[in-house]
């Protein structure tokens, strides 16, 4: 099996706030990420597709197709947007990189027809990223 990874950068604004909690609780849990004016990141998305290369083309999938899927499903939705207000898939969720990765997984998974989506990695900064994969045995973490 071969894993193919394509990268996409997008820039977006967000802040962390749970309306079910008091202002004080929000400040305690989310710290400066709770600033209601929001702040932004240059997100880096890495999408990995796994599969066997087609013997005729030598490719697991056409990277140009994957690039177009990432543009439509992710960049068009999230690039230069405010994740709290402008991305319906994130409505009601705190836009952490864990939740962004899970949302992107669900957007991409049905669109990948050659190979299988193997991993979605979302970097919020060079020192922080979330990975979304399929639970191998149904136990452990979930979103």
């Amino acid at each position: 099996m071969i894993r193919v990874t394509r990268k996409l950068e997008f820039s977006a604004a967000h802040f962390y706030h749970n309306p079910n909690l008091s202002a004080e609780e929000n400040r305690r849990i989310f710290g400066k990420c709770n600033n209601p004016h929001g702040h932004g990141h240059n997100y880096v998305l890495e999408v990995t597709v796994a599969g066997e290369p087609d013997p005729a083309t030598g490719m697991v999938l056409d990277l140009k197709e994957l690039k177009d899927i990432l543009q439509r499903e992710v960049a068009d939705r999230m690039d230069h947007r405010h994740l709290n207000y402008e991305v319906p898939e994130l409505a009601g969720k705190i836009p952490t990189c864990e939740n962004i990765a899970a949302v992107i997984w669900r957007l991409l998974e049905p669109r990948i027809t050659k190979g299988k989506l193997d991993r979605v990695r979302v970097y919020e900064s060079a020192d922080l990223f979330a990975d979304c994969t399929v639970e191998p045995n149904g136990a452990g973490g979930r979103a």
Partner: protein, 148 residues
């Protein structure tokens, strides 16, 4: 919800430390053959990068596996504070009896972080230099090295 998804969060930390690869169980000649210039008696140092990966349920209330407000100080106290700007052979008790290779540093850091209460520690990956990295997932068989 369709298939159960697995989420993990990885945070990168840094410390700078010196070490020397030398084992008193081997002769001088064997040490020289095994460890080469890493056995220089005065030691040498690296800017280590430690990648800590945790996994667990994403809390609906916070959207997080664990709050970095808890993870950062935990790693700081357990690893960065004791390791940063130190001579690992002498100043970390665990390396009095073992050679501070990055394999062993991986295991030691994993051991120190395993008790993080808010999530399950999945992996510790250390870049000793930008060309050498090592990772440990808690199973004694799985320290994996990569050199590029």
């Amino acid at each position: 919800m369709s298939k159960p998804l697995k989420l993990s969060l990885t945070r990168r930390y840094r410390f700078a430390a010196s070490h020397r690869l030398y084992s008193p169980d081997f002769s001088e000649a064997e040490n020289k053959r095994l460890y080469g210039k890493c056995g220089n008696p005065y030691g040498h140092g690296h800017n280590y990068v430690v990648e800590v990966t945790i996994t667990g349920t994403v809390d609906d209330e916070t959207g997080m596996i664990a709050n970095l407000g808890e993870l950062d100080p935990f790693v700081e106290r357990a690893v960065i504070e004791p390791f940063d700007q130190r001579y690992l052979n002498e100043e970390i008790a665990e390396f009095k009896g073992s050679v501070p290779t990055t394999e062993n540093i991986c295991r030691e850091i994993f051991r120190r972080l395993e008790t993080f209460p808010a999530a399950r520690l999945e992996r510790v990956r250390i870049e000793e230099t930008s060309n050498n990295s090592f990772e440990y997932t808690g199973d004694l068989e799985t320290v994996q090295g990569s050199a590029g």
